[in-house]
Symmetry: none
Subunit: 141 residues, 4 copies
């Protein structure tokens, strides 16, 4: 048996609140999802002006970041035509996200979850997710 | 054109907090989902001891209650073998929930959303969802 | 942050070998799946005479037992027509299994995974899964 | 009637063990799947540090290699934009894998199965799968 750290709901909500602050700061309402180490949803918030299609996209970004243990932006690069992971987005019933805005959460060497944000430009989505990662770094400091 | 009332994220979180209070009162950690009038997720919270399978079930209950505009318990009755809605649970890609714990939110004659709770006995799930409906009634009073 | 125990691949293979011994003892080739606490596959073995359809069934039983934290047999009872969980088998894209042969693995109060067996009569499937639970109890003793 | 060779579970496990040895040699924990001539799973192992998303990807690579009877790398080429198999990765419910790391197993002219590996760079995945093919060549020598 192995022993691993795990996110609580309180941790997840703390992270989400940092994302919402950032989204308000840049003026783009977002869908924000937090998943655990298995890619399963812990907390979700859709700000009043966020897109309906981005509900699933944000959840899938968080799923991908936590279950594949990488920023979704990195897959966006390696999944381009001619690149080694081309086509990977149809795996996991099409849930494997290639769009920037999904970031993994690591506590030392352990993956503990992921953040997925969507509704803005992917650069904005990732900036909002990064605010959540920064908050998480404070939590585990 | 028609003018309709719509749930805000603040409303949804207010409703969720009433559900969490009730879940803590009865001592059963729950997955709690709030959907809008289109059946789309606004807010989700998984309490630390809630089931993984109930993530989807709670979201599906909220989807069904808001999009079909009825408590999921009522469909459980009409979907029994020999009854008129038998088999309806395979519709919407299997998301049409027959299990008590999904309740619609009406503002006067307007459907504005749904609450879905899961992880306990369906009677417990419905009691926790009802605490959310009660809070909503205070919001719109 | 919370700290939880987790199954290793060595644990999973140890459990599978106990299931295979039991399957050989009763003379029924089985599909045998071990999942982690998030319902994700760790190890799978299809004995030479086991059914093709039971590949998915065994994996889904293990998923259900671990992610819903109950023996699948219990859901078989509560999901009968007229019972409270009627229709639950269409949730999780139809992966929620109602057929005996899925058993959860608990280390004290923590869910750490599930065993799913299929190809025989469900009573045989469950007996083979139980042999795996018994082995797990020795591992954590 | 035709007589065809078929992989046993013992063969599959023998192949997997060669893959695991190779994965340990290169220092990348892998998800490893072996399928039969019908593309159906025989054996699966997730090494402790392997990715959750790669469970499905490794199984899909093995499925594709055995059922399409080609290395997945070859499809990556013919599925590029402007090439004849462009879009093929959405077939089989998105399970048709274009990512290197899936290799078919042939006994003379007969397809008998496939190996799928995932969690590293696709070149690493394919090197680990190739170690399994090499072992298989010893088995049938």
């Amino acid at each position: 048996m192995i022993t691993v750290p795990k996110l609580s709901l309180a941790d997840a909500n703390n992270i989400v609140s940092a994302c919402i602050d950032k989204a308000m700061e840049i003026g783009v309402d977002m869908d924000i999802a937090i998943t655990d180490d298995g890619g399963h949803l812990i907390a979700f918030q859709r700000m009043d002006g966020a897109r309906i299609t981005s509900i699933t996209i944000s959840i899938d970004k968080a799923f991908t970041a936590s279950a594949a243990r990488k920023p979704t932006r990195e897959y966006a690069q390696s999944a381009q035509p001619g690149q080694p992971a081309y086509g990977i987005n149809t795996s996991s019933q099409g849930r494997f996200s290639l769009i920037a805005g999904g970031l993994p959460l690591f506590a030392k060497e352990f993956i503990v979850g992921g953040i997925g944000c969507s509704s803005g430009h992917p650069d904005q989505d990732e900036a909002v997710a990064q605010a959540g990662v920064d908050r998480f770094m404070e939590i585990i400091a």
